[in-house]
Symmetry: C2
Subunit: 295 residues, 2 copies
């Protein structure tokens, strides 16, 4: 069994990104610039955004953190988005989800300019992804693809089972792994809460991707010997520690690890890759703009 | 076994559409207006477009047919698209595919204004569909959903196998049937040319959708007793008849029909539904505009 070490791989890819940024700066160009909007006080969201900003700095990016109170109105948020859309010095921006309940997330996403949508969440980006065209791919599934690529895991003709059909993970990773790409050409089944007998499916998986948010839901008896297991779940489980919680994935790691060929740990698996692919997309956005300027 | 009669169902839905159009006209409003662009001389394409225009007339729609020689340049086509995008009297338009090889289809699709994309082919429309949001759904998979709905075929928790992963049929119907909708909540697997042992999958299908363009590829031994079989294939097979060809589906109808609970014939199954859902989308576009005017 080999660990898919998202932490290590992230370091490596971020070092590659930094090399490109250094070259940009050496050429007299400004580095990529990512802005992040955080509305409200959700603890996990704060940690995620802080990690993103920290990684920006480590890669030589410019970054802007926009923190707003949970009372922010939908129109005020739209004004912030418009400002970022029109700011030529911002290459991409993200709005950390979830948003407070009085703000309609779908309405907000429609306002993000597609050429700054480095989270890959807008309908336009999702459409390009579904059609197999160039565009910003959603960061978490893109991170999974990158992991499979760098660990040279064969996907063609493999049976892939995705547990969970969320718009930000399950659905896009299922779509992308089914496409005709070097990391792709899987036969993909996406399971949902109405699927009877999900074990029947998970036991058939050569590549099992779990993104449902139920700690230790996938047990060893549900996994085929030699499978590749990707655990996207990351749940704060309360405990008696000083922090008051620890993180748990959707997979019962200790027992599943014994059976499979590759597995992602939680934390340190898919999570860091998500941040890295966000930086990757932001660098790409900067490069797109430089290319357009030189064209 | 019951035939899923797309011809009959289309007549019925088109009659419902006509009622709405008649009411519009009685209210002093203009009817919906669809424009169709046909480039080149492909025989099947001409038949498809002619059928669409004929159905427009039968439903009381205004229609405009724009025929261009295969030598039309990409920029000339973009000019036509821009004119239609800006014409307040056109509610929707379609560009019959395939286009001549010197024209980049993906580049062209990006130029269609999303609010007139009644074929549902642009990245924005495909993104809305993937995210489960309101928008124009691609006509062929939308026609399949409508058929399942009108024939009251239960989909929740069913095993659905889609053979073929095209952007206009296989991929979108797989995505939509997996979503949390009244016609949806299936466990969907999309097969592709790298899938080993496709019979293993097709034999498990409660709902089998075939969209691959290989005449009679699905034989009776590949289908489970009592399955619902949707045949999207429509291939011109040469013969000694006066026309010189007849149409064949991807399913060996004569033998498969004996085993299944529901089946679509070819022709007269999915084909007419595609035209009908195009009209449905165009009517919807007209209604969206009227609603915006009254808001």
């Amino acid at each position: 069994m080999q660990i898919l070490n998202g932490q290590e791989l992230s370091k490596q890819i971020q070092a590659e990104i930094k090399l490109e940024v250094d070259a940009m700066i050496a050429n007299g160009q400004r580095p990529p610039h990512l802005a992040a909007i955080l509305v409200g006080e959700d603890g996990a969201s704060q940690t995620y955004v802080d990690n993103k900003i920290k990684s920006c700095k480590e890669c030589g990016f410019q970054s802007t953190m926009i923190r707003k109170d949970a009372s922010l109105s939908e129109n005020e948020l739209i004004d912030i988005i418009e400002t970022l859309n029109n700011d030529a010095n911002v290459d991409g921006f993200i709005i950390q989800l979830p948003l407070p309940k009085h703000i309609n997330e779908n309405k907000i996403l429609l306002r993000i300019s597609p050429d700054k949508d480095v989270d890959g969440f807008t309908p336009h980006s999702i459409g390009l992804m579904t059609l197999g065209l160039d565009g910003f791919k959603p960061a978490t599934p893109f991170g999974i693809l990158k992991m499979l690529e760098r660990y040279k895991i064969e996907t063609k003709g493999k049976r892939c089972i995705v547990v969970g059909r969320s718009n930000i993970v399950g659905k896009p990773i299922g779509i992308m792994l089914g496409q005709n790409n070097p990391v792709g050409n899987c036969t993909v089944t996406i399971l949902n809460s109405h699927t009877p007998d999900i074990e029947k499916y998970t036991r058939e998986a050569d590549i099992l991707i779990v993104a449902i948010g139920k700690p230790k839901m996938v047990t060893a008896d549900m996994v085929k010997e030699g499978a590749v297991v990707i655990d996207v779940g990351i749940t704060r489980v309360q405990d008696d520690s000083k922090k008051g919680f620890h993180l748990e994935g959707d997979v019962d790691y200790a027992h599943v690890a014994e059976k499979c060929s590759y597995i992602t740990p939680v934390p340190g698996g898919v999570g860091p890759m998500t941040v890295t692919m966000l930086l990757f997309n932001t660098l790409q956005s900067r490069k797109n703009k430089l290319k357009a300027l030189n064209a």
